[in-house]
């Protein structure tokens, strides 16, 4: 006790008890951090309660049949979102496959010493700039560039391989295929950026050890680097999928917004987010309830995907440790 008092009196000591001001600042900061954390949770709860509350009458009235019908006719009071659920999942999964292949390939290309460091930074910036393009611009680009560009190929595929279900209709204009292409480009920056971070986080000695054991570059990347970074790469895919599920404006412009379930890539389809965005402003009271029900389904879908992602991530990271 006495010795510490002495120490505090001396000038130039390293340790001293925190002053009242520091204690106060500490307490305020801790309070603010807890408060902001709690506010985030409260906000989520509030959103769920409000949307759930507005959806409840429709949920009671429509029941689970809502999820199995493909019709949207407010005039007759018939609602169902089977086509939208199908379109949302079909378009998001296809877009994720494309964005996953390209995104991971880009991440490998930019992190595994294929390029001089400065050039890699330029590349990385360009890909991240894709994320800054507004959704509406992607939609317009889809209408004026993508659709005319793929129409001849699409119609050739339909004429030649029409027996194959994904090519079973000809392509007039908006439809699933252009939507998937645009969606893949929109998801690409997310996948590429997070995969790059995951690959860059691997300590250099891991790669050196792999080369030291006599692996080729290809073997080092495929057998050592990718498995080690698999947790981060998987996280990038889950985040990308989440983004694809919720993407709205570009899809509303180019997917064709038809309430039908079809394997065909060239037929118009619809997604939950596009349905919400396009029908909400003019919706009457009953239709609003049904739209809120659709919003709850979209929320649940996103939640399930994210939770599945976390589970699989834990599973894969455990495996790589072994």
């Amino acid at each position: 006790m006495r010795s510490s008092d002495k120490g505090a009196d001396k000038a130039g000591v390293i340790t001293r008890p925190p002053s009242a001001g520091e204690l106060l600042a500490n307490r305020v900061f801790r309070g603010a951090a807890y408060g902001v954390g709690a506010a985030t949770l409260l906000l989520l709860a509030f959103i769920i309660v409000v949307i759930g509350g507005e959806a409840l009458p429709a949920m009671v009235r429509e029941g689970f049949g809502f999820l199995g019908r493909a019709v949207w006719s407010p005039g007759r009071g018939e609602f169902g979102i089977a086509a939208e659920i199908w379109g949302t999942l079909y378009s998001s999964i296809l877009a994720l496959i494309i964005a996953g292949v390209f995104g991971v390939a880009i991440a490998i290309f930019l992190t595994q010493d294929f390029l001089p460091g400065k050039v890699a930074v330029v590349f990385r910036t360009i890909i991240e700039m894709l994320a800054a393009i507004p959704s509406v611009v992607y939609g317009l680009w889809g209408i004026f560039v993508v659709i005319p560009a793929i129409r001849p190929t699409a119609n050739w595929l339909h004429d030649s391989f029409g027996w194959f279900p994904p090519f079973s209709t000809s392509m007039g204009g908006p439809g699933l295929a252009p939507a998937v292409i645009v969606l893949a480009i929109m998801v690409l920056p997310t996948v590429a950026a997070i995969s790059q971070d995951a690959l860059r986080l691997i300590p250099y000695k891991v790669k050196e050890a792999a080369y030291g054991m006599g692996t080729t570059r290809w073997e080092a990347i495929v057998k050592v680097m990718l498995p080690t970074a698999s947790g981060g790469i998987f996280a990038s895919l889950v985040l990308g999928f989440g983004r694809a599920l919720g993407e709205t404006m570009a899809l509303a412009m180019i997917i064709g917004n038809a309430n039908q379930i079809s394997w065909s890539l060239f037929a118009p389809a619809n997604t939950l987010a596009a349905l919400l965005a396009s029908t909400f402003p003019e919706a009457g009271d009953i239709e609003r309830g049904a739209l809120m029900y659709a919003a709850v389904v979209l929320l649940a879908l996103t939640l399930v995907v994210n939770m599945l992602g976390v589970l699989v991530m834990q599973f894969t990271s455990r495996q790589t440790v072994n």
Binding site: A70, W72, S73, G75, R76, G172, M253, G256, N259, E282
Partner: protein
Amino acid sequence: MLFRFAAAAALIFAGAASSLSAQSVRVNGAGASFPFPLYATWTQAFSQQNSGVRIDYQSTGSGAGIRAFIDRTVDFAGSDAEMTQEQMDSVEGGLVVIPATAGKVVLAYNLPDVGELRLPRSVYPEIFRGAITRWNDERIVAANPGVTLPDMQITVVRRSDGAGTNFIFTNHLSAIDEAFASEIGVGTTVQWPNLANFVGAPRNDGVMATTMQTPGALGYVEYGFARMSNTPMAMLENASGEFILPSNDAGTLALSSGDFSGDELFVYVTDPSDPGAYPITSMTWMLFYRNHGDPQVAEALRNFVTWAMDDGQAMAAELNYVPLPDAVKESNRAKIAEIQ
């Protein structure tokens, strides 16, 4: 001493605030998006001519406009579709409905080699019902002698969002085609046939862009959008058997064949009888409170609508809206006095 000073300051501020509000009246409206370009021009011109009055109109869609009107969060609303009886009953302070202008829904098509396209009234409802899906269908060919129609699928471009345009269009198709009425019906959102040749696009501009980009497309849009993008429009056969190209005059003729003498608040001319009338013409309405509660706002609204019926109608034609016939303007003048 300090207290007295504060009280005096408060008085001065209060006085300034009340004299400020006496000078400037703010009026808010919301609703239908189809007449928005016209209403925006009107409110701007009127606010410029009448210092101290500022009117704003937000394009939120008819449904949202009616909701805001019932909730009393706006001073007036715009709507392309009629209100239900339940909605009308729930308006506190009573309802005054005034037709403000009218629009035409046209069929824009994308067939590069076809300069003039005639669609008989037995054919175009069938296309939108999904019963006719090819351009060289014999019923279309028969109506267009001398025109080579391609062997091509008709890509029907429809609105994907709920819209007054949908209501106007399906209201007309249901009036002239029983099969359409029973299969699809009337509404701001309807269930179109689940066929691969039907694609949806958001808003008038989305339908226009998709139609222009898709060879073989046929889309329905408001007249102004097709006019501004120079897209060819089909001539439609009216009730008298004449093929009529959309124009403002043909729209006014359509309205003048309507009967506006009755007590109906929302009058439609779903199938005009005049030989020169363009068949798909419909009015859009402004909704006001019979008893607004704020006399200054009510007075500003009366002046605004009176002006819109007078000078405003000339602006309507410039912006590709249909100027109202005299009979409608006359009955409107009587209704304006009811806005209190």
